[in-house]
């Protein structure tokens, strides 16, 4: 398990990580979400003992970051962003090297390497130079490096970056499967990624935690309302003013005339009120025609936008 308390890290005058605290329990996958430069990588680098924090306390498996750095590093598997690897080594040699660094007993090492090759789908590239591999394969080699010593703690910085959609699904499933018995933190700036894999999400922006909870909680926090798109054929201003009279309507926005002469409106209702039927009746009563009525659920994307841009506005 990982406990982080009031962690702060500065680089010169910029505060990269600003007093953040969170916990990750065994068997839990925590998603670290935030725009680029939010402090995700910095936090992960602190947790993996790449550099120490300026202040704050980190306990990993009840070991203190400052006192037991080496012991922690033994138990952590870390996949840095964009998976840096030695370009001039063959995949098999690289895994052998990492295995030895990870102190896997040599009678077990060959089996471990074979397992990794199989789990990460590296069968076809075992004897290739890493520098000649595609980005997807390099990411997999990086993942094999992370998992080879069967670590209790996994810290993955954008693990699906550079993979194609099929690979993304594969890796996601793999992380989910592995995550059942381990403590996992993964970072991403892609929301569906996190909501598909993680049991809990921490949203971070400008070094601060701006929200946290399960993906479901986060979605229900988002504005609490659906957005409706209505495409109406009729006089624009009149339609707009009539629609505005609907009870429970919060905001209406005209999205420029469509090429077919209709008007597309983006309508937001007040929380927990469904006004789609009202829209239909208003349009029908006035003798206009309604060619589209779509509801859009609030997604994590919205939560994310709201939280990350919201905190900017507060400053």
């Amino acid at each position: 398990m990982i406990e982080v308390k009031e962690l702060t890290k500065r680089f010169g005058s910029t505060v990269a990580v600003d007093n953040i605290s969170f916990e990750v329990n065994k068997g839990e996958i925590l998603g670290f979400l935030g725009p680029n430069g939010a402090g995700k990588t910095t936090t992960m680098r602190i947790l993996t003992c790449f550099f120490p924090p300026d202040s704050g306390k980190v306990n990993i498996e009840d070991l203190d970051l400052f006192e037991n750095s080496l012991e922690i590093r033994k138990r952590v598997g870390y996949l840095p962003e964009s998976s840096p690897l030695y370009q001039d080594m063959m995949v098999i040699d690289y895994l052998d090297f990492v295995g030895r660094i990870r102190k896997i007993p040599s009678n077990n090492l060959k089996k471990k390497i074979d397992d990794m090759i199989q789990i990460c789908g590296l069968e076809g590239v075992v004897y290739k130079d890493i520098g000649k591999l595609s980005k997807g394969y390099r990411q997999r080699v990086g993942l094999a490096q992370t998992l080879i010593h069967d670590p209790d703690i996994l810290i993955l910085d954008e693990p699906t970056q550079g993979l194609d959609p099929n690979q993304i699904i594969e890796i996601r499933e793999l992380i989910k499967e592995i995550g059942k018995e381990k403590t996992v933190i993964l970072s991403s700036h892609i929301l569906p990624e996190v909501s598909a894999t993680c049991g809990r999400i921490v949203i971070i922006n400008k070094g601060k935690i701006v929200g946290s909870g399960t993906p479901e909680e986060m979605i229900s926090k988002a504005e609490g309302a659906d957005i409706i798109f209505a495409r109406v054929r009729g006089p624009k201003d009149l339609v707009e003013s009539k629609l505005k009279e609907i009870k429970g309507l919060d905001k209406i926005q005209d999205i420029s005339p469509q090429p077919d002469g209709t008007n597309l409106f983006k309508i937001k209702a007040q929380p927990k009120i469904d006004i789609s039927e009202d829209i239909f009746f208003v349009v029908a009563q006035n003798g206009w025609s309604l060619s589209e009525l779509t509801k859009e659920k609030a997604t994590l994307e919205d939560v994310f936008k709201q939280l990350t841009t919201g905190s900017e506005a507060n400053e």
Binding site: R45, S82, D88, I101
Partner: protein, 238 residues
């Protein structure tokens, strides 16, 4: 200990993963042999002294090219992030790289063996100074390596690492040379000549194995390896 061996092995193999290592070794052997044998038959003396006095100058370019990539490439590729988060101490990482470069150098020096054989076949060579010369070469080379390795840890650009290492080694070499010593106050001259990399090499090459000279080279090596460790830690001071 096993970590040092793993890193040494890995770094040593990566020298030979590209043809550059072979080109290096061949160039080194051709140049040193050429420079040595050209005046050899004219002077007509079965001595390797001229060979050993060449080496500090050939090493000036040869050794920074061995060490330049050791840290600079790790930084460029970002692999240093993994290396430093694996359960390895900074000391182990530094020593592993140092031993790898030393092994490479040792092989290159070993491959100059046809020269002493030729010399002793052609005349009545004195074996003492030849052995002394080789011992000195290893110590001098190792000192150069530790300097080059340290400089490599300061930058992610291999060319910069190469040039800076050459400059630093050159400076440390010439401060003990005659033409520098005459320009400084006479009281300081012994200190400068003691600090110069070349002074002790000359002593050893004369066939006099003095513990002070070996101690000097060991101190230089340890000093720069220590600086190397500090420069890795410097990421922690930011």
């Amino acid at each position: 200990m096993s970590n040092i061996i793993s890193i040494t092995k890995k770094e040593f193999r990566s020298y030979f993963n590209s043809p550059i290592a072979y080109i290096f070794i061949i160039t080194f052997l051709v140049i040193t042999s050429w420079l040595f044998f050209r005046p050899f038959f004219v002077v007509d003396q079965a001595s390797m002294r001229p060979f050993f006095s060449l080496l500090p100058w050939v090493f000036l370019f040869f050794i920074p090219s061995i060490t330049m990539r050791l840290w600079a490439e790790e930084k460029k590729l970002g692999t240093i992030e993994l290396l430093m988060t694996w359960p390895i101490t900074d000391l182990e990482a530094v020593l592993g790289k140092f031993f790898a470069s030393f092994t490479f150098l040792a092989i290159t020096i070993f491959l100059t063996f046809p020269i002493p054989i030729t010399v002793s076949l052609l005349g009545n060579a004195d074996i003492g100074p030849i052995i002394g010369g080789y011992v000195g070469t290893f110590f001098l080379g190792a000192a150069y390596l530790s300097i080059g390795l340290f400089i490599s840890s300061l930058t992610e650009n291999q060319i910069i690492a190469f040039i800076l290492s050459t400059i630093l080694i050159f400076l440390l070499f010439i401060i003990g040379e005659e033409f520098v010593l005459v320009t400084i106050p006479t009281r300081l001259a012994p200190i400068f000549s003691f600090l110069g990399l070349g002074y002790h090499f000359d002593n050893i090459c004369r066939g006099v194995l003095d513990s002070r000279d070996l101690f000097y080279y060991l101190s230089v090596i340890i000093f720069f390896l220590f600086l190397n460790i500090r420069s890795l830690e410097s990421r922690k001071w930011k």
